[in-house]
């Protein structure tokens, strides 16, 4: 497919592949700080609204305005951006120098690092943020007086933290954003704090994220002790100086990627640490859409993309990422199939799609991962918002068995049709944005050599089929079929009579339509011509990723150097010439992938249609059969119970720690305090009691003691006179 559309002028710039290291320090761009400042301002204003108990929708307006401003600023920033990227110092935070040596200074300030990768991220973060805030302004109406401003304050904090994370020029400010985003998700998941489930989910989210943050913190320490700096530009100069650098040997350089990976898995809910994301659905739906689908969960991918050079040092880490991503995708997809709550299904689908993105990172196509992030943000946000609209309309009803035939109901047509677009994109229906982005990843899985990447590729394709199945299972159950519904349990304003669902009004519909258009348009960048380098394929997103440290993962660059040991610098290897292209079924892997994933997508769709549209009874029959067969009954039950992962964590980590805590507490109170401290305190009293009888008051006992004492003294003196001190003759 030759690139067809080249209409965005900016892309016509052509510049040599300049190493990113000498980013221009340009303080004149300090207006870029607005992206950070505006959310802060809206946070303060929403806080004031909360203090003044504002009843109107003012907080929503403030937040929407500030996010729109941030979005416009980021677009402007993108428009006059030159490839090597700029460092914009804003405010001093920590800089300590106690010597002139390499490891005797530590600087980490609030300053922005604008390069294509961060611009790509900040644009879709702020863009989606604005849309979702508008959606939330209507969605949160029931809580107008009660928690409205607190909600929007939370959204502003989230956006500030996400911006700080994405735009920061050093790992410490990234860490600030990282924890800030975790805190914001704690704040927003726990929005309905009366509900214990929400509070528990919020706590779980924050703690699991904190485990990820622990990994990031240790990575930062290691990086500073090994490289002496945490600034991106300084790090890239070190990397640009080639890999033969004294700092690179030793166990630290191989530990850093694994710690960064731990952080990414924590934040982007991958296999070991994904348990918090499904529970995070306790929060209001706009939160799930904004944070747990589009922006926050992609932070993990951004981190790995930003620090990709570390991963290139250690090829094993890339293989681990690929496998973890692939396995998570499969696992989440299987769980997603067995759930009934549409928001939980979407949550598991997010985990699964993130698995894809990590697979992309693992198989050296940062471009594929980034592009999938870009498209996924749109259609997943769209799907979440449609679920939100349904939940909002049907008084909290989320069970797909209780609602069907939405497209026939009056006022719900927009929701149904936008949901269809979203489902198509998610399922990877040919020519949709999801299709192109997923294929970019799947193809690379077959191109790059690595341990078991072939199996990973076929597993990913099978997962794509499952994705198509469970997506359309939702759509056919909810939107297609006979129109019938049962209201949910949140009957807060049942003004008598039968409950009739209130369809979403203009704000929600407008946002849904915009997002639907967005997810369709998201396919376009794939077809833009690649300016940065003629060998590039992948359109605009590839250009954006190309100018960033994540360059190593651009198709056309990737297949050569990952395989060889990191003997020579990866710059040289890239130009050494193309190794033979491995082919798949005789065709170029990308082209082949179009056909394979297309067919798999359609097969999944038809399966879902057959089971959930035409022959719903058949679905129930199969399910009953599965449960009846003892040898297979465990499988559906396990899938429905989410493979017992939560119970596993509880049994392996939480319960032992809780018992250990009690043991320590008992140990502390009785052994250390009781035995040691009080024990020692009891010694004097014991000795006193032992000597007490001597003072019993009987005259003669007193006399005996007195005389005895005198006698002993005299005797000792006499004996010493005679025998001298210890046998020495006097």
């Amino acid at each position: 497919m030759t690139p067809i559309l080249t209409f965005i002028p900016k892309l016509s710039m052509s510049a040599p592949a300049v190493p990113v290291s000498d980013a221009i320090i340009s303080p004149n761009l300090s207006w870029a700080g607005l992206i950070l400042l505006l959310p802060l301002v809206s946070l303060v204003l929403c806080g004031l609204c909360a203090a003044m108990r504002v009843k109107s929708k003012l907080p929503a307006v403030i937040t929407a305005a500030s996010l729109a401003g941030a979005f416009v600023t980021s677009v402007f920033l993108y428009l006059n951006y030159e490839p090597p990227g700029e460092v914009i110092p804003l405010l001093d935070w920590m800089n300590l120098t106690w010597g002139e040596g390499r490891f005797e200074s530590f600087t980490a300030n609030f300053s922005l690092y604008i390069d294509s990768l961060s611009l790509l991220w900040i644009m879709f973060v702020t863009g989606l943020g604005t849309l979702i805030t508008i959606y939330a302004s209507e969605y949160m109406e029931p809580d107008l007086g009660k928690g409205y401003s607190r909600f929007f304050a939370g959204v502003s904090v989230f956006l500030f933290a996400m911006a700080a994370l994405v735009l920061s020029d050093n790992l410490l400010m990234l860490y600030l954003g990282w924890e800030g985003v975790g805190f914001a998700s704690y704040w927003l998941i726990g929005y309905y704090f009366e509900r214990p489930a929400a509070v528990a989910a919020a706590k779980k989210a924050f703690i699991v994220n904190r485990i990820g943050d622990l990994g990031l913190a240790l990575a930062i320490y290691l990086i500073w002790t090994t490289f002496g700096t945490v600034q991106y530009d300084e790090l890239s100069t070190i990397f640009a100086a080639g890999s033969m650098n004294p700092e690179f040997e030793g166990w630290t350089t191989s530990a850093i990627p694994f710690l960064l990976m731990l952080a990414a898995f924590g934040k982007s809910a991958q296999l070991p640490l994904y348990v918090w994301l499904p529970d995070a659905m306790e929060g209001p739906t706009p939160v799930s859409a904004l944070i747990h689908a589009a922006t926050m969960v992609t932070a993990g991918i951004y981190l790995i993309a930003r620090t990709y050079q570390f991963f290139l040092l250690e090829p094993v880490s890339l293989h681990v990422i690929a496998w973890v991503g692939g396995l998570t995708a499969l696992l989440a997809a299987t769980i997603g199939m067995a759930q009934h709550d549409i928001k939980r299904i979407m949550a598991y689908s997010t985990v699964s799609q993130l698995g894809y993105m990590f697979l992309g990172l693992g198989v050296l196509t940062t471009y594929g991962a980034a592009y999938h992030v870009f498209t996924h943000a749109f259609f997943k946000a769209l799907l979440f918002l449609t679920c939100g609209a349904i939940m909002h309309g049907f008084a909290g009803q989320l069970d797909l068995r209780k609602i069907s035939g939405l497209r026939h109901m009056k006022g719900w047509r927009i929701t149904a049709w936008t949901m269809l677009i979203g489902c198509l994109a998610l399922a990877g229906f040919p020519l949709t944005s999801g299709f192109f982005s997923k294929d970019a990843i799947l193809a690379e899985a077959f191109v790059t050599q690595g341990p078991g990447f072939e199996i990973l590729g076929w597993m990913a394709i099978f997962t794509a089929g499952l994705t198509a199945y469970y997506t359309f299972r939702v759509w056919f159950r909810v939107c297609a079929g006979p129109a019938s519904f049962e209201p949910g349990d949140e009957q807060h304003d049942d003004h008598g009579g039968a409950f009739h669902p209130h369809a979403p009004r203009f704000a929600i519909n407008m946002v849904l339509v915009l997002l639907a258009v967005g997810s369709l348009v998201a396919a376009v960048p794939y077809f833009m011509s690649n300016q940065a380098d003629d060998r590039l394929v992948g359109g605009w997103v590839a250009d954006m990723v190309h100018d960033s440290p994540a360059r190593g993962g651009i198709p056309g660059f990737s297949e050569t150097h990952a395989v060889h040991a990191i003997a020579d610098s990866h710059e040289a290897a890239a130009h050494a010439g193309e190794a033979a292209h491995p082919t798949l079924f005789g065709m170029d892997p990308h082209a082949a992938m179009y056909w394979i994933s297309g067919t798999v997508g359609i097969v999944g769709l038809l399966l879902a249609a057959w089971l959930h549209l035409w022959r719903r009874s058949a679905a129930d029959a199969i399910k009953a059969w599965l449960y009846s067969q003892f040898w297979i009954a465990w499988l559906p039950r396990a899938m429905e119970r989410k493979w017992y992962v939560d119970e596993f964590y509880h049994a392996v980590i939480r319960a032992p720690l809780w018992i250990l805590g009690h043991i320590f507490y008992v140990f502390d109170r009785f052994i250390i305090d009781g035995v040691c401290v009080d024990g020692i305190a009891r010694i004097p009293r014991g000795v006193a009691r032992w000597l007490q009888p001597l003072q019993a008051g009987a005259v003669q006992s007193l006399a005996v003691v007195m005389a005895g004492g005198a006698a002993i003294i005299l005797l000792l003196m006499a004996l010493f006179m005679q025998f001298g001190w210890f046998g020495g003759q006097v």
Binding site: A707, G708, A711, A718, Q722
Partner: protein, 315 residues
């Protein structure tokens, strides 16, 4: 002579004493007594081997007899059930001590002891004993009160006693070596001369006894020791230089002279002590009338001053 032997002897003596004190029946006490005395005798034998050995067997013999008699009666005294017998045994102790004093040529003190101690002090004890032993009612006459029958646990007491004995034994066997003895007769005469010189009046009285002898004034030169005689120089009636012979004073005069010469103040003090003792005894022993238990408690509780102000209560 192994230096540890005396301590073993002391231990034997102590064990003997322990048996005597804690035994119930007479024969066992007897055996204990024998063991104790055996220990003591062994000690005396060991002491015999000290330098200069035993000068005069006879004298030492008598000394030994008196010593053993003293110790035996002392043991009897503390082990006797009846206090009166204890007092009587104490008289025996005093007598045997006087014997010892005689052997040590302290004749005056021996007899003083008999008179004062055995005579006066013991009689007071007997008197008080008789007073305090009245049986509360007739059928108890002759019965030994409980506090006399059993002594307090003697183990600790005997142990302390043994320790004191060990100290004395240690001193006796090691410490005496570096004490300088009194020296021979000549030195003793010189000491007598020095004593007489410090008593001029006494010398004049002696001089006046021999008729017609006048003393020249300077005693220091005139009183001399020649050979083993004490000589006093002076002028006799007819103006010629003459010396008279002073007999070395006997024990009593020695004691008297040194008492007056070196301890005049203490003598007065002794008198005062005796006076005070008499007053004390009189004040303390004034006829007190029985107090009811409650008044007594109240008196102690209220703490109204000393013991003296008790009210007279009719019989």
């Amino acid at each position: 002579m192994d230096p540890i032997l005396p301590y073993i002897a002391t231990a034997v003596g102590a064990i003997g004493l322990l048996i005597v004190l804690s035994a119930r029946t007479a024969p066992v006490r007897g055996v204990g007594g024998l063991i104790g005395l055996a220990g003591l005798a062994w000690l005396f034998v060991l002491a015999g081997s000290l330098p200069d050995g035993i000068q005069d067997a006879v004298e030492e013999g008598f000394f030994l007899v008196f010593a053993l008699m003293a110790v035996a009666s002392a043991v009897q005294m503390i082990s006797q059930r009846r206090p009166v017998y204890a007092a009587l045994f104490f008289v025996l102790v005093v007598l045997s001590v006087c014997g010892v004093l005689v052997m040590l040529e302290a004749f005056f003190m021996a007899f003083a002891l008999v008179i004062v101690y055995a005579g006066a002090i013991l009689i007071t004890y007997m008197f008080v004993l008789m007073l305090a032993q009245q049986a509360t009612d007739t059928e108890h006459i002759g019965e030994i009160p409980q506090y006399d029958r059993e002594s307090r646990d003697p183990r600790a007491a005997v142990l302390v006693a043994a320790m004191f004995m060990a100290t004395v034994v240690a001193a006796a066997f090691t410490g005496l070596g570096d004490l300088t003895p009194a020296g021979d007769a000549q030195a003793r005469l010189q000491a007598d001369a020095a004593l007489l010189r410090s008593l001029p009046k006494q010398v004049e009285r002696l001089a006046a006894k021999s008729n017609g002898f006048t003393l020249n004034t300077d005693l220091a030169s005139s009183l001399r020791v020649e050979g083993d005689e004490l000589v006093l120089a002076g002028t006799n009636a007819d103006g010629g230089a003459a010396t008279i012979l002073l007999s070395s004073p006997g024990n009593t005069s020695h004691v008297g002279w040194s008492l007056v010469a070196s301890f005049p103040a203490s003598l007065e003090l002794a008198g005062v002590i005796l006076l005070m003792a008499m007053f004390g005894a009189v004040v303390l022993a004034r006829r007190q009338v029985e107090h009811a238990e409650q008044e007594l408690a109240e008196a102690i509780g209220a703490g109204r001053g000393g013991y003296g102000e008790s009210q007279e209560v009719d019989e």
